[in-house]
Amino acid sequence: MSTSNETLFIQHFGNEESRTLNYYLNQMNGYTALKKALGMKPDQLIEEVKASNLRGRGGAGFPTGVKWGFIPKQSDRPKYVVINADESEPGTFKDRDIMRYTPFLLLEGMVITGHAIGSNVGYIYIRGEYTREAKLLNEAIQTAYDRGYLGKNIQGTGFDFDVTVHRGAGAYICGEETALLNSLEGKRGEPRVKPPFPAIEGAFRGPTVVNNVETIANLPFIVNRGGKWFSDLGNLPGSGGTRLVGVSGHVKKPGLYEFGAGGVTIRELIYDYCGGILGDKKLKAVIPGGSSSPVLRADEIDVILDIEPLQKIGSMLGTASVMVVSEDYNVVQLLRRMIHFYAHESCGQCTPCREGSQWMEDIVKKILRGQGREEDIDLLEDIASNIDGKTLCALGEAVAWPVQSFVKKFRPDFEAFIRGGAHA
């Protein structure tokens, strides 16, 4: 149980100084974890990460130590550390600040990961739009090479590690880990059939760990202060560390916040930290974990913002990106915009996702025009349930879940358009 209000990241954000190596070395104990980690056996390191209860920050919340444990010890092919910096789930904007204000946390974390799984090669797959962030990362990488924190024989330890920034080019689907790997290999970003999972056959067919930026940026803290300490930063069993929480939409103070995992309810977040709803209006809806997470009504916000509590009420923490919608916003219109995104970003491989998302957008548009029929609401649910679980990757669920939850929770809003016409 957490007793502290300690934060790890947010105090360094917004400060240009913090991205320099000197700041990292002097103000953040930079690169002390690396020496410690390289003195540990890989298995010991993996055990420490398991004990930390660090869970993936990319959306699925998978325990990081467990994921690393799947990597085979022996491999004929090189192993890879791949960082998912695609950050494209709508509502999510945390990895950008880690990369532009504390890039060395990520770079040190990558070397530690390399040692844990026996890899000497890392890639950071960054979304194409983050041009400036890619440049800052490349500058930090160059500094790390110049000062012996990357490259051959890092700090005289005999361990080698290389990092390359690989820019994406505008495709949401490349955040899905196997699509990302195809894109890294110079192909279209189409998800792969699993198994084999990346841990067995990932980048260039070698065993590969794919982790989110925030996940890996936590490692220097875990190594320096121990798995138990990190686990105790969280407030619920099995969920360690702090969470960077992004709040956007109709609140007075949108932006990034950081709490011990499970340290805040959505109500507290909105009203105590973000100053309440714009114009002191009433709350209509909250999307708690990036736009693919099922929507919550105003009467559901006393839930603790963490993995298990949200799962229990049928939603998900996802990327801890909370989007807030006030009472006078048209949620049917909002759903249309969300479906449009997923329809546009569907890679097209799986029929249910490719056709279903487009079809659902057409139906919602029709409803908005005042031409909907009562049956259309059931049809939306029917199409969504025929996408859910029937596609190669979770983009299918990402479009099905918002539709299912909006229809379930805001049915009267849809009916008003159907019965009252376009000006409902």
Partner: protein, 157 residues
């Protein structure tokens, strides 16, 4: 085949080669580098990239056409991309789009007659806490309103 890509392109690629286990992996970096110097990706540049990588030109087209950032048609001197995804939409992104369309006399997807501006709607830029946001060429601009948008566009050469 007359070369369209510069020596600079080839020297950037040479530096990247040792970073990847094979040449096909240089596909995205090569497309980015080519677009950076040409502003878009004319067909000859795609053929030349195929030649450099040692693959069929169709393979380069297949990849280039998958990603929205690769311009397979010429764009204006300045590329305006306004995010209209959820967070920006909640903060008035469509007012910005309407304003731009009126001001420039073009619709989304079009380029002005003087080829100065191309306007696009963009999917989530990852700047939701400072919405509404847009990209103007390589730069992000956040917490926008129409006044700030006017200032920005008027200041472009």
């Amino acid at each position: 085949m007359a070369k369209v890509l510069s020596d600079q392109f080839y020297s950037v690629m040479k530096k990247l080669e040792p970073r990847y286990p094979n040449k096909v992996a240089l596909m995205l970096p090569a497309l980015h580098a080519a677009q950076e110097e040409m502003g878009w990706l004319p067909p000859e540049s795609l053929d030349e990239i195929a030649d450099y990588i040692g693959c069929h030109p169709a393979q380069v087209r297949e990849v280039a056409s998958f990603y929205t950032m690769y311009n397979l048609k010429p764009v204006g001197k300045h590329h305006i991309k306004i995010c209209t995804n959820v967070a920006c939409c909640l903060r008035g992104a469509y007012d910005l789009v309407d304003h731009c369309e009126k001001k420039l006399g073009i619709k989304v997807g079009q380029t002005t007659d003087d080829r100065k501006f191309t306007l696009h709607e963009e999917e989530c830029l990852g700047a939701c806490g400072t919405a509404p946001a847009m990209m103007l060429d390589d730069d992000y601009h956040e917490n926008l309103d129409t006044t700030r948008l006017d200032e920005l566009l008027d200041s472009m050469e």
